[in-house]
Amino acid sequence: MKISLKVNGQLREADVEPRKTLLDTLREDFLLVGSHAGCEHGVCGACTVLIDGEPSRSCLMFAVQADGYEITTIEGLAPAPGELSVVQDAFCETHGLQCGYCTPGMVLTAHALLEHNDAPSRDDIVEAISGNICRCTGYGQIVEAVEFAADRLRKTNLPRHARSDANNPGKPPFGGNDALGHGVLTAVQPDTPRGGRA
């Protein structure tokens, strides 16, 4: 049957079997493969998406049931290609992941927590992410990531509604200026003596 879903702010249409899950529809019909199948019985949380801002299991919901809701997937979180949200950047800062498979669900869950709670305690964070299973990290660096993101969001001057789009206010996410051989990789000009230098 034909459905139209609002995903990451855009209206998307598909023709799916009524039995098709929201997860499979996002992945196969809309090619949003950042949401992952883990257990497909609602325990692990790898398939987590936000439905009207609340973390939800896309493996336990049929696509046809999602009509009329605002769906946010991990692809909807980065402010622009190659740019990370504050929460995403915080996960990179603390290495709150390893294999990356549970990460989209974890990041969305953390994002939703911080939308509600400016200053979550450790217990708040543990509670919020307890429905998302991670087999790599033992959760330590994930909790640190959420604490770090909360701190940075509190310190930003942007109003809450603008924060999701707030680009990383801290140091650049990649690189830095700490290389010993700073500048050695400036491209040489081919076919000129000594790379075009004196």
Partner: protein, 802 residues
């Protein structure tokens, strides 16, 4: 080999892990994300019997279902493919990807149905009619060992895959000399790493180019070799794409049977074919369960608690097929005495088949269960003598000045400073205060206990256990490689030749190459060529990549630097030893002459007339690294197993209500020494993740089979994974004892935390219930088991009193 010329700039600094960026954005590229034109999907039909003869298979109705293309049986596949590899010389324990003639465990795959979608394939599978004739079966390990039990593979004659006794040193003499002995049995329950991504594989056959393309969620040495052998095609017809991200593995992602099924189907049907296990496929028949082991241990010691000798019998239940499972009894031989100066050991390693799912490599490759047995022994010796459990460990530890230390089974431990690590942990944790805290909790009517584990993580994985347990196997190398190319514009690309499942190998390689060449690692591209473009390697197993990939990258970068220096010396007309290399530039002290990075690049790529005689143009190098210390076959049952030995010391305080029995870890401190750390974020994550995995193994996770051969824990509702509620905040106390055998002094850390946490948590719970005069001798120790045992102990006590 350790280089101490200049301080390390990038190695050991808290740099970000480059892989993380794509993952936090949902831009990982996992096997389920690989888009292939015309892709067909597979669903498998499991057996409901633990053992049965397959009388007939009727697929006619399935083939009429919408979207169904094909139904593959074991008979057809067995004609087209060789049986899968066995580690031991057990030719009659044949394993095919789909059951042939007989099923050997409940859940075993019998047919594979191919359809336009996975849903249609599942619909089709429901319509396949299989008639079975049930056969006798065996589940219990001791029963399987009994020669009168029904053999899982009648052609093999018994259920015994391996029964080998090693005697290292004068065990009988030491036992006779020792005034005290004790013996006990502990059992390690069958669990696994259970990655959140199940195993998946897609294959495509191109008959015009004669190429089989494979994309898989794989972590396995010699994967493409095994595909080629099984399908009887040349290895250079197999192209495994290693740029597939793997959603967790920790040892188990070794889906060779799945790969053979889809590869055969892709050739048979002329379309790309994919099999992604669902959770039930994965749990019940992904052939990814871990060790399932009973230990009988006897130790001989004196009144000071010095343990002189140990006898260990390890009986492991491999499940229905052999694979590499028996080798998981072999690897622990390389650390069979743990961190202790036990002078002699008798070790009987037994592996039996049973009608359970097949076993596969799990994090630590058998070491975590063995460490649990050794640590239990040390706790029991302390209890027998009324000594403190830490004091007794300190008395038995190898001392730092005794390294390299040769253990009775032939491995030389590289380095360590166990006493210092323990001292640092005790100071950090305030051990006396921790004991007071425990006693105060007990005074409140709670059960509280302290757990301790001191153990080793052998690292740098070679495969010495293969020739040790299989005389026909003469493997003495388990190499790893790296290639560096500096392109014509001066940019650096490093190739690594494996898939990764979260270990950060791109970060590792870039950090090491950047360190040696003194250039910014973030400017270095790291790529993973397909298997046909790869140098020899053995994948990230056995905590080896910091040592082996880090080592290969180091040596490749040194070669590149040497080439640049030689090139520069030729320009300056001086000898190479006069050249100063700094930050990618070269200079000749005493003159003002200098060459920049770009100038070296330009000469190498464009000015052949300026190159020294015999130098190849371009700036490209490779290095294939042999495992340090690995140089010969086993002799007299002794072998140098892994080259490096990381140390971990766990100190845990557990508390629970005696009525409820749900353990809460109140304090978790680990002292960790893995030599020089290349990326602190990565090592920290491995250690914390390993501890979480150990919490699962000790308290929650088990693949339970009932007496009828059915696996009861088939979903995440029954097989419980630790959530953020179960895993406490963990405090890590660092120490660094560099390894003399590696380029930066690094050791492995891929299994850290996991190798000791089950022993420590078990010890804590046993300490907590000791006032009741009870203890637990089997992992996992579940909530119900705790509360039941305490209730029973109370009832007995009341009965005695009345």
């Amino acid at each position: 080999m350790s280089e101490a010329e200049i301080p390390l700039k990038f190695v050991s600094s808290n740099r970000r892990v480059r892989e993380d960026r794509r993952f936090v954005a949902g831009q990982g590229h996992y096997v389920a994300d690989v888009a292939l034109e015309g892709l067909l999907h597979v669903a498998v039909l499991p057996s409901q019997h633990p053992a049965a003869r397959i009388v007939s298979i009727d697929a006619s109705e399935a083939l009429r279902m919408p979207g169904v293309h094909y139904v593959l049986t074991g008979e057809e596949l067995a004609k087209a493919a060789e049986p899968l590899m066995n580690g031991l010389n057990t030719p009659h324990v044949k394993r095919y990807p789909l059951a042939v003639g007989q099923v050997r465990y409940a859940g075993e795959w019998v047919v594979a149905v191919v359809a336009e979608s996975r849903a249609q394939a599942e619909d089709g599978a429901e319509k396949v009619r299989v008639v079975y004739e049930p056969l006798p079966y065996v589940i219990d390990s001791e029963e399987a060992l009994d020669l009168s039990s029904t053999p899982v593979h009648p052609a093999h004659g018994s259920n015994v895959l391996l029964d080998r006794t090693f005697v290292w040193g004068e065990v009988d003499k030491h036992f006779a000399e020792s005034p005290r002995h004790l013996s006990f049995r502990v059992t390690w329950g069958r669990n696994s790493t259970v990655p959140i991504e199940t195993f998946g594989v897609a294959a495509k056959w191109d008959p015009w180019r004669e190429i089989l393309d494979v994309w898989a969620s794989i972590q396995m040495p010699k994967y493409s070799d095994q595909i080629a052998r099984a399908l009887r095609i040349p290895l250079n017809n197999v192209r495994v794409h290693q740029d597939v991200d793997v959603g967790g593995s920790y040892g188990v992602k070794r889906g060779i049977k799945q790969t053979v099924i889809v590869s055969h189907l892709a050739r048979r049907l002329g379309r790309p074919v994919r099999l992604i296990e669902d959770r039930l496929d994965n749990m019940r028949a992904g052939d990814a369960h871990g060790p399932d082991r009973i230990f009988d241990v006897e130790v001989a010691f004196d009144n000071d608690g010095i343990v002189k000798s140990m006898k260990m019998r390890a009986l492991d239940n491999a499940g229905a097929y052999a694979g590499r499972a028996p080798f998981q009894l072999g690897k622990p031989i390389g650390a069979i005495v743990g961190p202790y100066k036990i002078q002699s050991v008798k070790y009987r390693a037994i592996s039996v088949t049973s009608n359970k799912a097949a076993q596969e490599a799990v994090r630590g490759f058998g070491q975590a269960p063995t460490n649990y047995a050794i640590e239990t022994a040390i706790d029991k010796v302390a209890a027998a003598l009324g000594l403190d459990r830490i004091e007794i460990r300190k008395r038995n530890f190898i001392r730092s000045e005794e390294f390299p230390y040769l253990i009775p089974s032939g491995t030389r431990y590289d380095s360590g400073d166990y006493h210092t690590v323990v001292a640092k942990v005790l100071a950090h944790a305030d051990y006396e205060g921790l004991k007071r805290e425990r006693d105060e909790l007990r005074a409140q009517g709670l059960c509280a206990g302290i757990g301790i584990a001191a153990c080793l993580e052998p690292s740098g994985g070679n495969s010495s256990f293969e020739p040790l347990l299989n005389d026909a196997n003469k493997t003495t190398t388990w190499m790893e490689s790296c290639r560096i190319n500096v392109d014509g514009l001066g940019f650096v690309t490093v190739t690594i030749h494996t898939t990764s499942s979260g270990q950060g190998h791109e970060t590792l390689a870039a950090t090491v190459v950047g360190e040696v060449l003194e250039i910014d690692p973030d400017q270095i591209r790291v790529v993973r060529p397909d298997s046909l473009n790869s140098l020899p390697g053995n994948s990230p197993v056995g905590s080896r990549m910091a040592i082996m990939l880090g080592g290969a990258a180091f040596h490749a970068a040194k070669k590149l630097k040497a080439k640049i220096v030689r090139l520069a010396a030729h320009q300056f007309g001086c000898v190479e030893s006069d050249i100063v290399y700094q930050g990618g530039a070269t200079s000749y002290p005493g003159s003002s002459r200098k060459l920049t990075w770009a100038e070296h690049v330009n000469i190498a790529h464009r000015n052949f007339h300026l190159l020294p005689d015999g130098m190849e143009p371009g700036l490209e190098v490779t290095h294939v690294l042999q495992v340090p210390t690995a140089n010969k076959l086993p002799e007299n049952g002794r072998v140098q197993m892994y080259p490096c030995h990381s140390f971990e010391f766990h100190l845990v305080l557990v508390v629970f209500d005696p009525e409820i029995g749900k353990p809460k870890i109140r304090r978790y401190v680990i002292g960790h020494d893995c030599g020089t750390v290349i990326n602190p974020h990565i090592v920290k994550g491995m250690t914390l993740g390993g501890i979480a995995h150990g919490i699962g193994a000790s308290l929650l996770e088990e693949f339970v089979y009932d007496s009828e051969g059915q696996m009861l824990t088939q979903s995440f509702m029954d097989y419980l994974l630790p959530s953020s509620h179960e895993v406490p905040h963990v405090e890590i106390v660092h120490h660094c004892t560099p390894s003399p055998f590696t380029v930066f002094g690094q050791k492995g850390s891929g299994e850290s935390g996991y190798l000791g946490s089950p022993a420590a948590i078990s010890g804590a719970i046993n300490d907590a219930v000791s006032p009741y005069g009870i203890s637990f001798a089997k992992l996992p120790i579940r909530i119900a088991a705790i509360s039941d045992a305490i209730a029973a102990a109370k009832a007995t006590k009341e009965k005695v009193q009345s």
